[in-house]
Symmetry: D2
Subunit: 354 residues, 4 copies
């Protein structure tokens, strides 16, 4: 048994098996994967990592599991601990190139020391299936409970106060889905509201978006294969880019380091059809000096948040319903360019758009 001090949850107690997981090199790598990627360029203190988020998710999942001993196997907490094992450097940033980290998590669990540790107690198939358990991956899950409160704490943004005690006390698992008790509805609602406010304020902050687009471009130009990036940490990746043979790559990573970020030429919530054409045209004309960033629409499906009595949360909470309806509100796409060519790029885009 080991006690780890966490700024969010106080003392987190690791049982012996959890400690064995944490002690693998694969898990320790998460100490070098920042939770919010390049968001620290907008919120300097957002330097927390997937490591402490994973510990926090474990801790909350364990509490939920303990309140539901009849229906939840203890292994769910270990799945929660490992749910982010496959994150690439800078977390979600590079998923635009390499796909969701979830596939990489599944791959990572099949290799190295972590495979052996898991294998002592669980079959791989059994364990992988737990990654989809509603306590680990749902609308009101341990993952989200931890990251909203944690991200708010570290950024210093005032939108992450969620009554986790009250919420966890009022979650029941019926063998299939998590059900929110009457006295937990307000806390669940505030969790979803917190998410909706963190989304534009932090997760989609334009500074983070621009820096991420620059990093993606650098990695793309460096042609790092998925297989390589899958086990890199942030030191590996940045060192690789700094040492690139390509001038554009070194220039991009230096600009991120120095926070000399590209400027917004386009930044709008109007949908646009010819994304690929414009992207190609910009590349042909400006190479790495102009970047098109057209992210997918945010998902806000609230598909498995149920309330005692059988209704969906959105049925009993008009505020949650409005969140579902309004999910696109803060979505934007953009074109960013290095400061010295902003006028040329602006003209080019205007000509293209006609």
């Amino acid at each position: 048994m080991k006690v780890i001090r966490d700024a969010i949850h106080g003392d987190i107690v690791l049982d012996e098996f959890a400690l064995r997981i944490v002690d693998t090199p694969e898990f320790q790598r998460l100490r070098r994967i920042t939770q919010l990627g390049l968001a620290y360029l907008a919120y300097p203190s957002a330097r927390h990592t997937r490591f402490e988020h994973s510990l926090g998710t474990f801790w909350l999942a364990k509490k939920i599991a303990e309140n539901n001993r009849d229906t939840v196997e203890g292994a769910v907490a270990y799945a929660a601990l490992l749910h982010d094992l496959g994150h690439y450097p800078f977390s979600h940033t590079l998923e635009a190139l390499y796909g969701s980290h979830e596939e990489n998590t599944r791959r990572a669990l099949k290799e190295g020391e972590i495979r052996d540790v898991i294998g002592e107690r669980y079959s791989l198939k059994e364990f992988l299936s737990l990654l989809k358990h509603p306590i680990v991956s749902g609308d009101i899950d341990a993952d989200r409970m931890d990251y909203l409160v944690r991200d708010a704490y570290y950024t210093g943004v005032a939108y992450g106060l969620v009554d986790l005690d009250r919420l966890i006390r009022n979650l029941r698992y019926d063998g299939e889905k998590l059900i929110i008790g009457q006295k937990g509805i307000m806390a669940a609602q505030s969790l979803l509201l917190a998410r909706s406010m963190m989304y534009p304020t932090v997760y989609q902050h334009h500074v983070s978006r621009i820096a991420s687009a620059m990093l993606i471009k650098a990695v793309e130009l460096e042609r790092i294969r998925e297989k390589e990036v899958a086990t890199m940490d942030e030191v590996d990746l940045i060192a690789r880019l700094r040492g690139s043979e390509r001038d554009e790559v070194r220039e991009l990573v230096k600009a991120i380091d120095d926070r000399r970020l590209y400027k917004r030429i386009v930044y709008t919530n109007e949908e646009f059809k010819n994304v690929e054409e414009l992207k190609k045209a910009l590349e042909d004309e400006f190479n790495h000096l102009a970047i098109l960033d057209y992210p997918p629409k945010p998902k806000f499906e609230e598909k498995n948040a149920f309330v005692e009595g059988g209704q969906r949360l959105s049925n009993v909470s008009p505020l949650v319903r409005s969140l579902v309806e309004l999910k696109d509100t803060h979505w934007r796409w953009g074109v960013y360019a290095r400061e010295d060519v902003r006028e040329e790029v602006r003209q080019f885009v205007m000509d293209f758009l006609g």
Copy 2:
């Protein structure tokens, strides 16, 4: 004017000149120098950096200066902003090899973009002298006010609650020294108490001590010159060590990454005379597998904390007096060894100590 959100002080407002300083590559490098070095191996969430600490120190110094417009020039806040510019990667860790970062700060101010920015308004000599101003560098200074509260917040340790508002409101600068008003004494005392509790709990935590000793050994073996390390960030340093031609160096940095730390063979507060001899003997016998760590005694001089009326703070606060007397309490020296050779090292040290 720019507003930066900080988790400790809320909105920090940068005036135009402060913003120009912050925008230099030299200052941006501080984003990649962690405030507490390897302490994150004991406190996972301690990932904050010298960048946000520097902003916080600026902000507090500015408030103190504004309360003392007759006696304090505004430039003191810019000196506070830059007081840590010369920190090496992992902050204090490598000072055992390269000396205090303060000399490096002075050097750094004479070079690059930052020199030009400073030079627009101040002579170098004038500016360097402000680094010694009691608001920047004293017993009750903006630096300490910021780091105690910040380090407690990020580690999650409960010893950093200091009433900064009350303290700052009651600080007067008489042209020579900072003087604590009657109503600020309790807050000043609590600042020094917080420091005395943070010292053993965080700053001298044995996990941090061991990992630091391992990093120092790796850097020493890699023979990185002071000139090189002076401008490195943590990516540079770790990448360099990972890519070393020496097996021992790669092995040490891998052990830190994997948190496979050396074990304590000796850990005691009894003074020891033959440090150099034992160190040499251990190196000859065990090379990098055993490390002697004999840190200097902590300073707690409380030399310039004065109270309204002319007395020292230690004269009016018996608790502070006892802090001065007890400064050595938590000092320890140690010998650490890789787990597989711990018994050999133990035997060797016992033989040496006779």
Copy 3:
């Protein structure tokens, strides 16, 4: 100048004139008027008073005024300080009998020591008009900013975290209305969301509703005139009820003291037309043992929250728009009865409703 420590805002600084106001017996009376009336029967720690809320409102109004020196006269802060002077014992509770406290505030300002203090600097007419200033009384005003954060802090409920610094920094007064800057929109939205969650959780908690209905009944039966109650504090009122010649009154106040509250017979959000008839019938049949509580619908008009550019906040924030639409969601009316007659009352009401 005097500094008062406040749990919400830290040090509140009173200038000499503010201090003279605070030092009047009329203002000191607010120390004995609880902010949330009988809510402490649901949230035991909600014992804060109109006194500290008034200081907090003053402090926030002063900050907003200081950021808008060209358009806001300093006297607004004193109006904020005095905006709740006329509250009856247990704050809003007795307004059902005596009308809004606002009229009583205006009356109180014309009498006693407070009249003389105000009169030294301002004409009464001038001062009374400031009570309607948008900084004191609007949708995003100093009053609401203070009470939401304060009520959350004292009840321990997790819905009151509002970024007041950010909001205040981004409020501009154009001589007619308060305008929220772009960077303050999210903070303003979170203020209104906090209110919408505090409303059902705290302000309309059924325990508080029932106890309030019992107190209103006791005061009604005791036939205390408005003129008398207007200057009473909570000691006066409770002592009066305890010493009543009427058994029913003494019984009601004892039941509140012992927290032996009436039970809910009806509690529904379906509107009901024959309120007065049912009320009369219940009184005739059960005297003080059954109480009908039919509160007015909550107001959520958001009539004067404007955003930079001229739009209403509800136009730019879909969440705020949904709040406006959903204002009735948590409204309920009820019939409460003493435990021993609950069955008789239930039958009676069912017969009445047919």
Copy 4:
């Protein structure tokens, strides 16, 4: 089972027996006994009561008991819940007249509904003995843990941050005394430091001292018998004083209500022998217009705080040792007088002291 929201501990869960205790009129009376008496005249927001402090003490005692199931009977938590049942109005204030509340607690447990509830499960003798259990009444006990953190929270003073989780996790009861584990020493030390700073800042604040002396004088002049005051709440007491037949009593209570406090004529830490003579002389000359306040020296015995291994806490913590030695530092005695006679009183005291 019932859940009560507390601002300090979050959700407090009352089991059925605890709930029966809480539901007695005797326990509900604690809602009307403020925790810090007249300290709200210095710290306006200090309006919390013995009721919520008692719930908090119960909750912490229960946690300690659960960690020590082999050695601690569950009833200890109920003793913790009831440890303050006998507090007089304004808590410690009137103990100068009526003796410690502890005797009154023992008496109160023998009467009324509470006697019947206790009697269902425990013999009176057995229960009374639990009031002396180290978990309820020691140097590091649940009572102190709760009140320090709570009093700091409600006053807004920054000296009450104690790591209760860490401390409670490291407390072991050996059947005789509470023993602090190695990892709890720093938390225990910070508890005692917090107490030492709360003492002068809050508990012995001169405003509270003066107002208390005035209230004691009023009660003394009103000649309320111990038997009467023993079951009064604060409404009863203040109403009684306001309705007194004696002008002096009404004048004193009005002065407290209006915060027109007596001024300090003497306020010193020099011991004084002829207390009774001066007191008598002042009474003869000035009646209720001058008051002598000579409190007992504070106790700081640290008599039963033991550390793993058998040592006293003061032996392993030099800071705690210095607290023991310095316990008198903030002790003061005073003479206070109504503002209009301060000069006469000053002259009189000077003549008396020669």
